[in-house]
């Protein structure tokens, strides 16, 4: 599998429809290089989670379908595969909302992450590895996952995904509902996992500043489309992105990126 050319993941112009009628993604394309971290930014409802589920195959559990375009992983089309197959190939999704198995212990949750793996000894080594990344999980290994804190549940969801030893991790809003300190801690660990284990990450986030700090590249989504993409540093300094994500307009509502864009266009005409 040593394809050196071509990205690890490439999403080519996909359209996604839920329930046969609800058109949600309208031609989304993006790439994740081997070992890279790519941020997928956008407000609530933009279509970030739908994009990740189109990659992992979980879309079908929500009656969604990729109706146009293709998702390719290491050059192979995967958008018709079921989730178990996709995990086997090396992609694992950490779903939004800290979806741990509540009635299982922390350690049992981690073991389910290694479900597709056969080598028991390697799995035990990786259990130790996850506990090194997340020492807090080691302390709570026997606790029922439904009762550990929100931050610990997010760590558990990420650690569990690492147990699959994926090539690509799809991380859906790990910052959601957590205190800023904790978010920084978790993003740090994700960065380390990426460097040390070589796991590529596609990171869906509303928290753009945080996401652009760990990512090398970013895409901005709005209303089911990619409206902007670029180098993470450039995006972070991009006036539109700043205004959109950091500046709140008058009544405390976020401006749509599109409004910003129109405004810029007008400005260009005037100058």
């Amino acid at each position: 599998m040593g394809e050196t050319s071509g990205p690890l993941l490439s999403v080519n112009n996909i359209e996604v429809i839920y329930d046969h009628v609800i058109l949600v993604l309208k031609g989304v394309s993006l790439r994740v290089p081997e070992g890279g971290i790519v941020a997928l930014l956008g407000a609530n409802g933009a279509g970030k989670s739908t994009t990740l589920k189109a990659v992992s195959g979980l879309l079908r559990t929500e009656r969604g379908d990729v109706t146009k375009g293709a998702v390719e992983f290491r050059g192979q089309p995967i958008h018709r595969k079921d989730p178990a197959d996709v995990v086997q190939r090396g992609i694992v999704q950490v779903m939004e909302g800290r979806r741990v198995f509540e009635h299982l212990t922390v350690e049992e949750n981690l073991l389910t992450g290694a479900y597709t793996r056969r080598n028991g000894q390697a799995v035990r080594q990786d259990l130790a590895l996850v506990y090194r990344y997340f020492p807090r999980l080691a302390e709570r290994r026997g606790a029922q996952a439904g009762y550990v804190s929100g931050g610990e549940q997010q760590m558990l969801a990420i650690g569990r995904a690492l147990m699959a030893r994926p090539k690509l991790m799809l991380l859906d809003e790990p910052s959601m509902g957590l205190a800023p300190m904790l978010v920084a801690e978790i993003f740090d660990i994700v960065g380390r996992m990426n460097r040390e284990e070589g796991v590529a990450v596609l990171l869906a986030e509303q928290n753009a500043p945080m996401a652009l700090r760990v990512a090398q590249h970013g895409y901005v989504m709005e209303n089911g489309r990619i409206v902007l993409d670029g180098d993470a540093k450039a995006l972070g300094e991009n006036e539109d992105v700043k205004e959109f994500y950091l500046g709140l307009s008058g009544v405390g509502q976020r401006k749509s990126y599109r409004d910003v864009k129109h405004y810029r266009r007008r400005k260009r005409w005037l100058s």
Partner: protein, 297 residues
């Protein structure tokens, strides 16, 4: 016989019978735990297993061991096939659809059993004798001892499976959240089939034991009625709960029958467990060990 001796006898009898209820309830729990389906045909599964054993023994003149193996394989195949043919189609539909489907299945099986194997009551003879074992002040029918031992063995085996084995943990993960289990690469439908096949195993054991005690005819399915008080008491999805629930039901019905039946002329056994069940529902809706819905703010 003194008062306390009489009580001890009722108690020991209740405990052994109760463990045999636990075994049948385990079949129900396995399916509910993994698939969220409520199986109203559990008693009929036991009946069919009984029919298969006596069918092989009497109609085909097969040796006992072969009949037992045949029943085991038949019930595994039955559970597996049922999941494929019927229950898989009901995944994601309202729970009432599954309930109605299994109630319908129960009726069909009650008709089919006698149709295929005859309506008369057939003996299911095991080579264990029926001379009670005397353990002053108790005396115990050998089948009860065998039944209780087999029950404990399989309850332990399934308990180990769920707690320690890779497949068992995966099955509990499926029970916890099917979608998240899929995200971990777990083939959810395979585990549904496995749960129904495991219920087949338990039903086969129950069919042999209860068939020996009651004889095999359509009434054998009535042991399924004890499943509901057992699982409501213990919790629909708990193996320890099935043990404790079974013990409570066994003891309650034996003790109640021992003291009340002489005055009312019988029948106490059939309703006493349900009285306890209704009280339990009002006090502890999740059962003694049932998993609670974890809610956090």
């Amino acid at each position: 016989m003194g008062d306390w001796q009489f009580f001890a006898l009722l108690l020991s009898n209740g405990i052994l019978i109760g463990l045999m209820y636990s075994l049948i309830a385990l079949g129900f729990v396995l399916v509910y735990k993994a698939t969220d389906a409520i199986n109203f045909a559990q008693g009929e599964f036991v009946m069919i297993a009984g029919f298969v054993v006596v069918g092989f023994l009497i109609s085909y003149g097969a040796p006992l061991w072969l009949s037992l193996v045949a029943a085991l394989l038949a019930m595994i195949a039955f559970g597996f096939g049922l999941e494929r043919a019927m229950l898989r189609k009901l995944i994601g539909r309202p729970i009432i659809a599954v309930v109605m489907a299994t109630i319908g299945l129960a009726a069909v099986l009650r008709g089919l059993g006698p149709l295929l194997w005859g309506a008369d009551t057939k003996p299911l003879v095991l080579p264990i004798g029926d001379e009670p074992i005397l353990l002053e002040p108790l005396f115990i029918p050998p089948i009860q001892l065998v039944g209780a031992t087999v029950s404990l063995l399989f309850l332990g085996l399934f308990g180990w499976f769920f707690l320690k084995s890779r497949k068992g943990i995966a099955m509990r993960a499926v029970a916890d959240s099917q979608q998240v289990a899929m995200a971990m690469g777990i083939n959810v439908e395979r585990y549904f089939a496995l749960a129904w096949a495991m219920t087949g195993v338990v039903s086969a054991l129950g069919g042999v034991i209860w068939g020996n005690m009651l004889g095999v005819d359509v009434h054998l399915s009535l042991v399924g009625l004890k499943v509901f008080p057992v699982v409501i008491l213990g919790g629909l999805d708990s193996i320890p709960g099935a043990i404790v629930g079974g013990l409570i039901v066994g003891v309650v019905e034996n003790v109640a029958a021992g003291y009340i039946d002489p005055f009312v002329g019988g029948g106490t056994k059939d309703f006493a467990p349900y009285v306890v069940m209704i009280i339990a529902l009002m006090v502890r809706p999740y059962g003694i060990f049932g998993k609670q819905i974890i809610e956090r703010v």
